[in-house]
């Protein structure tokens, strides 16, 4: 059963470091699980916790946040805000019954394609081990894995375009 489960993970990358790390991984022909759908933000500090909650509420099994290493932020110190929000959000999510492993924060510089691949793979395997999140819709829990994926696919195209643009 667990082997059949392909988690849907929404990944947020920053324009200056982690998106370029993913780019580097691609250019270097490194492979990582296709379960992570990347959305590029200008900065990890742009990551409103709303994005994470919306991803979970609409069927994501995990959310991957990545940005420049602390001290290396293109906008000087915005990724410190990311750290603070991430820690607070994880506490809230735990109270809501969402395992903290479903939210991961990873730093990756533009040169760290291999590191990005390694962390993305770890994330996918960790969420695969946890199983589907199956968040509810319209006040009722959703039980169908296909329904979950379909929902993400529906809201997917615009973000996919953004990533490849």
């Amino acid at each position: 059963m667990a082997h059949d489960f392909e988690p849907t993970i929404i990944g947020f990358t920053c324009n200056w470091c982690s998106y370029r790390a993913a780019d580097m991984a691609g250019l270097s022909r490194m492979k990582y699980p296709p379960n992570i759908r990347l959305i590029r933000l200008m900065c990890s500090g742009r990551l409103d916790p709303t994005f994470v909650l919306k991803a979970f509420a609409e069927g994501a099994d995990g959310v991957f946040i990545s940005g420049c290493h602390p001290g290396d932020c293109h906008y000087i110190e915005q990724n410190y805000k990311t750290i603070r929000r991430y820690h607070l959000l994880r506490r809230t999510l735990t109270q809501m019954g969402i395992e903290p492993e479903r939210l991961r924060l990873v730093w990756a510089s533009a040169a760290e394609g291999a590191h990005f691949v390694e962390e993305a793979t770890k994330m996918v395997e960790a969420v695969r081990a946890l199983g589907p999140l199956n968040w509810m819709q319209d006040g009722r829990p959703r039980t169908n894995d296909k329904g979950l994926s379909a929902s993400v696919a529906r809201s997917g195209p615009s973000s996919a375009q953004e990533v490849t643009a």
Binding site: K54, L88, Q95, M96
Partner: protein, 327 residues
């Protein structure tokens, strides 16, 4: 019965404070009486559900509906009143965003019943629990079916207007009564459907007279633990104040008397998820770049879900905890 416009007010899962707030509009209540026939208002007058069922659709001009949808009776009456009302107003925090009853969405129904019927403060020696069905000599009796999670009114039926507040402030209710009365006489137009009425379109901070500077927080604290400066922003002093995400309209009553805003007027204009907006605001003022220290500072907020979703859980993006939705 005269041919005046018809008025109804109903309570679902709520405390009754909204009804008190309506009566608390002082002499304006006479305007309600002068301009409306009250056809259904369980708190104030005797009426039966079958009386409402017998009304033609759209018979009631305006219904103020307060309370969340916790059981099938609440849902039945919400749908009934939607059908019978021209204007349905989600009145007060419970109907709009779940409010305190919505916090039960953190717990399984079983845990809720355990707390209500089996804790030390409950005198229930025989362990009696409510039964949905009961056979009595007179026939089978039913009580409303309890739902796994509480829903807001607009998660169950379409709502025309939202009036926030726990409860809505009396001057705001009076202003809305004035507006509706004027509209009935053709002297004013009602706002577009779906609008928030009886509230401002900014945040509580905007109405708060306290002085605000750049915020850098090393420690979160609570008002019982120290004496806050009466003129300075409470969040700046380490008290988690919900003002930055909360809709204006109350006049910042709580911060003016030294208590932090707890967020009863719900999300400010444009806020998708109330708790997320607050988490963004509160986390970003923490004065540390070290993850360990940040974590330690965050220990000063022992119940983040309760803090950031005190009134808004049922209307949040997640709506309930995993335990609650899985029963």
């Amino acid at each position: 019965m005269t041919d005046k416009p018809k008025f109804a007010m109903y309570w679902a899962a709520s405390c009754g404070g909204c009804e008190i707030a309506v009566l608390n509009i002082h002499e304006k209540i006479l305007d309600v009486d002068a301009n409306f026939d009250v056809v259904f208002w369980p708190v104030a007058m005797d009426a039966k559900y079958k009386d409402v069922e017998a009304m033609p659709d759209g018979y009631i001009t305006m219904t103020l509906f307060n309370g969340g949808i916790r059981n099938d009776e609440n849902e039945h009456i919400a749908k009934l009143l939607r059908r019978k009302s021209k204007i349905l107003v989600a009145f007060g925090s419970c109907a709009n965003e779940g409010c305190i009853p919505g916090l039960a969405n953190l717990s399984k129904p079983q845990e809720i019943f355990d707390t209500a019927y089996a804790t030390v403060s409950t005198d229930n020696p025989n362990g009696i629990r409510p039964q949905p069905k009961w056979s009595a000599p007179e026939g089978e009796l039913h009580i409303p079916k309890f739902y796994p999670v509480l829903r807001t009114l607009d998660q169950v039926v379409p709502v025309d207007y939202h009036m926030p507040g726990c409860p809505p402030e009396s001057h705001q209710i009076a202003a809305v009564v004035d507006l509706v009365v004027k509209a009935l006489h053709g002297e004013a137009t009602l706002p577009p459907a779906g609008a928030v009425i009886g509230a401002g379109d900014s945040t509580v901070c905007d109405e708060c007279p306290r002085t605000r500077n750049v915020k850098t927080i090393k420690q979160f604290t609570r008002i019982q633990d120290f004496k806050p400066d009466p003129k300075l922003c409470l969040l700046e002093q380490g008290i988690v104040c919900n003002g930055p995400a909360t809709r204006s309209g109350c006049g910042a009553l709580c911060p003016q008397v030294g208590a932090q805003c707890i967020g009863c007027y719900g999300p400010a204009e444009g806020v998708v998820d109330y708790g997320a907006r607050l988490m963004t605001a509160v986390a970003s003022v923490i004065d540390s770049t070290d993850p360990k220290e940040i974590d330690k500072i965050l220990n000063g907020i022992p119940d983040p879900a309760g803090q950031f979703y005190r009134f808004n859980l049922a209307k949040s993006l997640l709506r309930a905890s995993k335990a609650a939705i899985q029963g």
